[in-house]
């Protein structure tokens, strides 16, 4: 645990200090905030029952999953491979650092560093909604929404982004990931076969519709059940475990043949 914590600490510090990433997040947040202030959205309901509050909270947080995971995927893609490019891997291998600690520490640091700006933004949203008349419990509701919608999506994206560039060149992964994010979440399955709408969809739409009982789709239809939400979360978690395990095994194999 100590090793994981040490890796996490140092990696988080390095990861959070990238001005380019903050700038990119800033652009996205400004866009999000602007859309929240549009006349058709600025008016909140007069009556706040629990269901309405959850729906408002869910949509506000879900919107972060439209574009921001793209930033996370691209920004975290170099976190593990940079040890190779910076020629740090030999030094790291000469220490008593366990491989699984290394992988978990890197993953955790990459994930939390990507969630940090989002977490801050969610607080801004909470304050904005309170100013617009929402009750104070919107704050903890937004936190729950953050955990239910944002965390699984980012964990999934970060796990793949940290692991895949070990095998695939970095720029290739970044291109493929960008294309995947659109294909896997927003492309109409009638156009070409896609993961959108399946339990492998990471953007959080299944959880939003089934647990928060609201949707961002124009037709207003709720397509998913609680079981779908449960399976979605389980499948995403399983993918995280599988890909991180595969990364650790890959590193083990590379060390054996070195």
């Amino acid at each position: 645990m100590k090793q994981i914590w040490n890796i996490f600490k140092e990696e988080y510090r390095m990861s959070i200090r990238r001005p380019g990433v903050w700038l990119a997040y800033g652009v996205i947040f400004l866009l999000y905030f602007y859309t929240m202030t549009l006349p058709e959205r600025a008016e909140l309901p007069k009556v706040y029952d629990t269901a309405t509050l959850w729906a408002i909270s869910g949509v506000a947080v879900f919107e972060l999953n439209l574009f921001a995971p793209l930033l996370a995927g691209i920004s975290t893609a170099d976190r593990m491979v940079r040890d190779r490019t910076l020629k740090m891997d030999e030094l790291l291998r000469s220490t008593p650092l366990l491989r699984r600690s290394y992988v978990l520490g890197k993953f955790a640091a990459a994930l939390i560093s990507m969630l940090t700006p989002l977490f801050l933004y969610v607080q801004v949203i909470s304050i904005f909604l309170i100013f617009k008349g929402a009750p104070i419990q919107i704050v903890w509701m937004n936190l729950v929404s953050f955990c239910a919608l944002t965390l699984p999506a980012y964990a999934f994206v970060t796990a793949f982004s940290v692991a895949c560039p070990l095998v695939v060149p970095l720029r290739v992964y970044q291109v493929l990931f960008t294309g995947y994010w659109f294909w896997g979440n927003y492309l109409n399955p009638g156009f070409i076969p896609t993961l959108a709408g399946t339990w492998l969809m990471p953007c959080g739409k299944i959880v939003l519709e089934s647990l928060f009982r609201t949707t961002v789709m124009i037709d207003g239809l709720l397509r998913y059940t609680r079981f779908d939400a449960l399976m979605n979360l389980i499948v995403l978690a399983a993918c995280v475990v599988i890909i991180l395990t595969a990364a650790e095994r890959w590193l083990a194999w590379k060390a054996r043949i070195a």
Binding site: P19, G20, A24, R171, V172, G190
Partner: protein
């Protein structure tokens, strides 16, 4: 063209571009597969999606890498190659590769009997993919040089690409946003402002390349 130019291209290909060939080739193969298996459904849309939507993303992201991800960058900067030539050489190779792939792709689509005249004349269909490709390449270049690293550039290119795809209706309906729209060739080829949009993108591309050229002259930022 001097004979040495050909040799430089050959070495550039081996040193820089070889690793960049297989990704566009693999995506090309995937889209060929999709087109040929969807002939009775939406093959036409797919046929236009590859050059108009996919190729510009590829070009935009790899443009930055083409410039700065060079193990012998300091040696390159110390050689008597002007900034303009360096830009041309690095990006030219990439653009040549995508041009060949798009040409082959279009040839296969034509051979498969796809009638794409609904997406404009043959000339306009080339304009519709080349202009966005150059625009995103120029943007990728300028951002990479401005930040002196590739990751922020890749981030912003991806955001631009995704935002434009998802908000395409809003963009095309609003002035002046429509004059920055990249995917006219797929979604709105018959739009009255289609030609004006391409012209606007050409101007923006030229400005971005000039900015890139100016930034590349400040060589010390990249070593």
């Amino acid at each position: 063209m001097k004979r040495s130019t050909g040799i430089t291209w050959r070495y550039s290909l081996r040193a820089h571009l070889a690793g960049q060939l297989w990704l566009p080739a693999a995506i090309w193969a995937l889209f060929i597969f999709l087109v040929l298996t969807q002939l009775d459904y939406n093959a036409k849309e797919i046929a236009v999606t590859f050059p108009v939507v996919v190729i510009p993303l590829l070009a935009g992201i790899t443009a930055g890498y083409a410039l700065l991800e060079d193990p012998a960058l300091e040696l390159q900067l110390a050689s008597p190659v002007s900034a303009a030539r360096m830009l041309l050489r690095r990006l030219g190779g990439q653009l040549a590769i995508v041009t060949v792939l798009v040409a082959l792709f279009q040839a296969v689509c034509t051979a498969a009997g796809l009638d794409l005249s609904g997406y404009g004349s043959l000339f306009m269909r080339q304009v519709f993919w080349m202009v966005p490709c150059l625009a995103l390449s120029a943007l990728g270049c300028a951002l990479t040089l401005a930040f002196s690293q590739t990751t922020p550039a890749v981030l912003l290119i991806s955001i631009v690409w995704l935002l434009q795809l998802i908000l395409r209706h809003w963009i095309i309906d609003h002035n002046p946003a429509r004059y920055f729209f990249l995917f006219t060739g797929l979604f709105f080829p018959q739009h009255p402002a289609a030609n004006a949009i391409q012209l606007s993108l050409v101007v923006i591309t030229a400005v971005l390349f000039i900015i890139s050229w100016m930034l590349l002259q400040r060589q010390e930022r990249y070593i």
